[in-house]
Amino acid sequence: MALDKYQIAQRIAKELQDGYYVNLGIGIPTLVANYIPEGINVILQSENGLLGMGPFPEEGKEDADYINAGKQTITTLPGSAFFDSAMSFGMIRSGKVNLTVLGAMEVSEQGDIANWKIPGKMVKGMGGAMDLVASAKNIIVAMMHTNPKGESKLLPHCSLPLTGVQCVKKIVTDLAVIELTANGFKLLERAPGVSVEEIKNKTAGKLMVEGNVPEMQF
């Protein structure tokens, strides 16, 4: 059965390691914060200027001056630090952020990603995504395997304007965990009960399948 967005976040959380500084994009990536494994310490970077992002505030304790990159009200944690946007993207560009998780509209076999613009339809802007994908050492995409029309979002080449090139390392969808290799997409894990065949059918780009592909563990 395909994962829901919470389970996608839960699976991605397993990629976290102790001491990681992590930037979580808007949408499913934000949910990853709810599943940080016990016993490891992960520090969330919010590119508007905060390290050590805490949970949402309790009702009535929202402060307009405390927001995350999704403009949501947030709190700090012991050890948090505020900084300006130049320093924020400085730490991103200099590779200090260990992992970036973000959503995508399309990912190509080469690891290209498109997630900021649909010509003639949607003009929202790239925000910090282009900086993040151009610099992060490790980039995981969290997305549905297909778009609302049922078309694959894992393509030989992106059709939409790119956000970055050859940068995605891993994709976690509702159906699969996929690694980006020199030879294209490689299937690492299946969602529980989802067949290799179904994943193949819903992956427009070349998909390598080696041996027995295990089901995701939670």
Partner: protein
């Protein structure tokens, strides 16, 4: 040497049609509410605005968009503004969307007297169109020029009459870099104090960068996405 102005109307008095203006803030957080209101009231137009976002329909830079005061908007994300999208798609408004880090760093470059910077953001995308690409140690970077703004308008938490500023939490965002980047920098603060009341070790923007300062009034500080704690899942 008096940097203290009475109010926003006074501080923005000489901003005229066609000016290039930087405005601090991220979303609606840390925006110079008083100065925006004064610019709306003043109906100055043909402006080029450099700001991370374009506000929402009825707050922030959105208020200036409603009155069609902008000729051009340079921003990184404009997703929460229907009037903006309408003006963009109809061609009424010239728009330059650039990566957020590039925006921040082009402000910083101006404030630091660097004519241009190199960034990998946008390499291989349409953002790179027409820009010089240069390879350093195997990685490609775009050459991006420093901004050249007539005015920078920022919002701080506390400031003193010499122009020293302290921002609060994530309301800091673009304000410090923009404060450094303006030919004339106007700072509105929630609390204006005498020199010596701010700890010199904790100042985010030294007064040398600030030309005009005033204590703002009636801050609404609207929250864009009020989100409160709930149990996971």
């Amino acid at each position: 040497m008096n940097k203290v102005f009475t109010n926003a109307d006074d501080a923005v008095k000489d901003i005229s049609n066609g000016a290039v203006i930087m405005l601090g803030g991220f979303g609606l957080c840390g925006i110079p509410e008083n100065c925006i209101a004064a610019l709306v009231k003043k109906r100055v137009n043909n402006l080029t605005c450099i700001s991370n976002n374009a506000g929402v329909d009825d707050f922030g830079i959105g208020l200036m968009l409603q009155q069609k005061q902008l000729k051009k908007m340079i921003a990184s994300y404009v997703g929460e503004n229907a009037e903006f999208e309408r003006q963009l798609l109809s061609g009424e408004l010239e728009v330059e969307l650039i990566p957020q880090g590039t925006l921040a760093t082009r402000c910083m470059a101006a404030g630091y007297g660097m004519p241009a910077i190199f960034t990998p953001a946008g390499v291989g995308t349409e953002v790179a169109t027409g820009k010089e690409i240069r390879n350093f140690k195997g990685k490609d970077y775009l050459l991006e020029e420093a901004f050249d703004a007539d005015f920078a308008i920022v919002k701080a938490w506390k400031g003193d009459t010499q122009g020293n500023l302290i921002y609060k939490a994530t309301a800091r965002n673009f304000n410090p870099m923009m404060a450094m980047a303006g030919k004339i920098t106007i700072a509105e603060v929630e609390e204006l104090v005498e020199p010596g009341e701010l700890d010199p070790n904790q100042i985010h923007t030294p007064g040398i960068y600030v030309h005009r300062i005033f204590q703002g009034v009636n801050y609404e500080k609207r929250i864009e996405q009020r989100t409160v704690r709930q149990l996971a899942n």
